[in-house]
Amino acid sequence: MTQTRIAAVADIHMGEDLRGHFRPKLHGIEHRADVLLVGGDLTRHGTVAEGRVVADELRDLPIPVIAVLGNHDYHSDAEQAITSIMRDAGVTVLDDEATVMSLNGATLGVVGGKGFGGGFAGKCASEFGEPETKAFVRHTRQIADRWRQALHGLDTDHRIVLSHYSPVKDTLMGEPTEIYPFLGSYLLAEAADEEGADLIVHGHAHLGTEKGLTPGGIQVRNVAVPVIGSAYTVYCMNGA
């Protein structure tokens, strides 16, 4: 039976001080995986210079690379420039949209974006009160709506959601509960549960835990480097 092998990592937080440190760890990745997903926080300060370091680390890999940005990549208001630099290096950067590819005779659809916070059902913010609060929650809701649409349009053998923020609490275990609303939102999980997906990959929660599940039963994996302790982890999905 054919398998689709997904390599995933997040929070590589490259800077000039780490130039050349990550790429060697990817050596031979084509023997272990068919595609590499990178779940945001590519940089530390979100500068163009750091974006170039990331692009150089990921350039010309023998397998396709799909990435989303993280909150750190927005810090210097250079997210557009970083996106362009990454795309010029051959990386598919998803901004609340889908990409489709054929791997080993099976089709894979990836819907990706950075996601956002707000918290988890029963303990979350809502679109009520001051404009600042409404804008915060609305941002997440609009992202979830775009993911729902993108997933709806996918007719592939496998479907994966690539995020920076977490869709569930499970993978935040180890983080202080007080900051959960800044680490993710259940709205992201809800969108995936409604449309269906095989896997949700995220990062952002450096102190969190690798494995979780959405209320609808979709596997969730937190692949932040400090969590997985390696350059990437590989998840295998059975063929169509």
């Binding site: 760890k25 095989d198 450096h206 400090p226 302790g229 390696s230």
Partner: protein
């Protein structure tokens, strides 16, 4: 002297906002005149910078740097979903 609560908050904020660190994943605990820093970073220089920034944000307190380095190993066994 500031309450430990505020000292911890000030250090945490400095670590997040100081351009030298921009670290959001470090736990800061203040016990009496001691500050404990805990978390994981990917380079030894970053570990030391965090200590510097914490010391500047809380002068006079002794800083215990318990931050560990993330060892980025070769990928392990693949998981079958």
């Amino acid at each position: 002297m500031d309450a430990p609560h505020y000292v911890a908050a000030r250090v945490q904020r400095a670590l997040a906002e100081d351009e030298r660190t921009v670290e959001l994943g470090i736990r800061v605990d203040v016990r009496g005149s001691q500050i404990f820093l805990r978390g994981r970073v990917s380079a030894p220089e970053r570990r030391l910078l965090i200590e510097d920034v914490a010391r500047e944000a809380a002068p006079g307190l002794s800083v215990h740097n318990e931050i560990t380095l993330v060892e980025v190993r070769e990928p392990g066994e693949e998981e079958h979903l």
